[in-house]
Amino acid sequence: MASPRPRTYAEAREVSSSNSELGWWVFMRISGLLLVFLVFGHLWTNNIVIDPATIDYDYVASRLAQPGVRIYDTFLLFFAMLHGVNGLRYSIEDYTKRPGRRFWYKILLYTVSAIIFVLGTMTLWAFTYQEMGDAVRAIGATQ
Amino acid sequence: MKRAHRFDVVVIGAGGAGLMAARYAAQNPNVSVAVITKLYPTRSHTGAAQGGVGAALGNVTEDRAEWHAFDTIKGGDYLTDQDVAELFSHEVIEAVYELEHMGLPFSRTPDGRIAQRKFGGHTREFGKSAVERACYAADRTGHMILQTLYQQSIKDDVAFFNEFYVLDLIIEGGECRGAVAFELATGELHTFHAKSTIIATGGNGRMFKVTSNAHALTGDLMSIAYRRGIPIEDPEFYQFHPTGLYKLGVLLTEGARGEGGILRNADGERFMERYAPSIKDLAPRDMVSRAMYLEIREGRGAGPEKDYIYLDLTHIDAAIIEERLPDITEFARIYLGVDPVTEMVPIQPTAHYAMGGIPTTIDTNVISDGRNTIVGGLYAAGEVACASLHGANRLGTNSLGDLIVFGRRAGIRAAAHAAGAEYGPLPSDNQDASRELLERLRAGPRTERVAHLRRELQDSMQDNASVFRTQELLEKQVGILADIKARMLHIGCEDPGQQYNTELMEAVELGFLYDNAEQLVFAALNRTESRGAHSREDHRERDDTDWLKHTLIYKDGDGVRIDYKPVTMGKYEPKPRIY
């Protein structure tokens, strides 16, 4: 009745390839500390200071047009993504028992997060929203 | 898993003695070593020992090996073989240092040495005053010995067969060629072919109702050797420790009285004043146990059944109790719901230690008769063995010393023997006796229950053959044993399974226990004197002219045969044992 997952520590060592757990553990703590400020700051400005129900394209576009906000959000995006994705990895490793399945879940997680991270970065830096608004309006006008 | 194994050295038992033997056998590069044990090694009862291991290191005050040897001989009521005691008291010093080098975390003196404390019967200058001789690791010395030795065996990569019950020894032409064992996990029999076999299976305290011994201590190999024609030496000398928790037998260390604890009867009287006016509650174990029994028998026992004594610690500072006796405080609180700080603790003498066992030479070779004829390739060490270090009564802390000294000797000797020997041919029917035994027990009619017979055995041994013995009681016990023996033919197993059939094992163990009881009772019946732990009310005096000799009891058909051999004397002439 051989179990497909490594049951003993010795077996697990054979299948584990990285020794980076220490680094991630430290990172979770440092990023966690930073996130306290970043996340609460974010919540404060977007949920307390302004009523989120009033949020619309113009509000977001106008905020993203400010370089300060861009830099702030970049930090938030970067740390929250790494912190959160690594945290999700912990869960995958703890709850998926078969090494094969575990591998594919992680690939899926990393792919999705990479795409979203790229999207997020593009949102922050690829355009100025002035230009973008103009361009869109221009397209609309030609139709 | 294959069921035939071949190792140069096979060790049976993984307590202090077995692991020590395995370690030193494994040091010999020319031999392969395996350990067979019915429990996982760290479950062995060596782990229960609290007090310490006696060795004359002299770390606290001056001490000498000679003094230790003398104390051992006197403590053993002169039945100790004096050459063994001399050798022991010197080698135990080395052995303790070796344990320390293996990493044993001894408690320390302020200058960083192994800490030592006083213990009953250990004195300086041949009885002048108490000496700090017990080397200790807090109140878990045995636990640390067991752990340290197991750790070493991991380092040495010793092969273990855990949860394998040895059921038989293969003895052919005066030589041991290995053992047959039952694998608990699968229910299969395995044969271990060996050049040297070391027996280190511990005690047999479970033949009594109230005992400090583990459930696993059923004297298996004492019985197996006996069935294979090897005698048992001095089985009548069985030590009762005075302070076991009422009905449970869980041990409360001698340290409790060392810290000032007092024994009281139902009337609250400090009765030890009557029995040992000078040292009172700190008299030797056998004396205190006897006094407690007398009190109970004369109706001064406490409790609804008037069958226990109180250990009174209430006058001692609460902080001292908590700090120095944490374990026993916990035991009393958990198991009896009694808080030693404010209440008296109900106690009873508890069956503790077998001084006798499989007879060996000073080199741990098992011998098969009174002329010291050696059984080739067979060794024994630890509580199961009797090199006769403890004589008629063991001193506290000398058992752990025994394990490490004689365990080590056994390992070295057995490996040396194996390195120079060939495998003797294995009889083809080596498993037959074991298979028959198991089949009989599996298929038995079950008109008797194992648990009931065991309880009867334990109760009657406690009543008739424990602290006090008389011809009448012992003869009565002979009758009871005969009855139990006959009824044992009717036991059986409800569990038809092969895997982890613990019921079957208990049935086997009952048979072993029975043999141990038989050895004890017949030897005790014959010995018409009182010496050390063997106390005959009808023969109250020690009798050196007729009885300064070791018992050897043999299985003889359906009965027993008793023989004697002389005690090895030395520097010390027998004197009355006065403390």
Partner: protein, 119 residues
């Protein structure tokens, strides 16, 4: 169910809240990135989806989760780097719960009408 004590529940809540926030984060970045498609793009339509009832309640829980996760994260860091953090881990956890409520209630006071009111 294993009858673990405070530590077990602290861990479980931390993990659940962490996963919830992380999943929300992925979604949130996705929705904000829709801004790239301009004012007439799918952004506002997506926001409308946020106004679904189940989603609003989920959002409230995520916010509460963030507060708990952040505070308990600080508790974990204290335990990792100080001996008294371990010794008083239980008290710290009650502190975390208390503070979560203390911060959470006023925040919800402000946020609930906003979220609920914006129908």
């Amino acid at each position: 169910m294993y009858r673990g004590r405070e530590g077990q529940w602290a861990f479980l809540l931390h993990r659940v809240s962490g996963v919830a926030i992380a999943l929300f984060l992925l979604l949130h970045v996705l929705d904000i990135s829709l801004v790239m498609f301009g004012p007439d793009g799918p952004f506002d339509a997506f926001l409308a989806f946020y106004h679904n009832w189940p989603f609003r309640i989920g959002l409230l829980m995520v916010i509460a989760g963030v507060v708990y996760h952040a505070l308990n994260g600080l508790r974990i860091i204290l335990m990792d780097f100080t001996t008294w953090g371990v010794r008083y881990q239980r008290q710290l956890w009650y502190g975390v719960l208390g503070l979560t409520t203390a911060i959470g209630v006023p925040v919800l006071w402000i946020v609930v009408p906003q979220i609920v009111g914006g129908i």
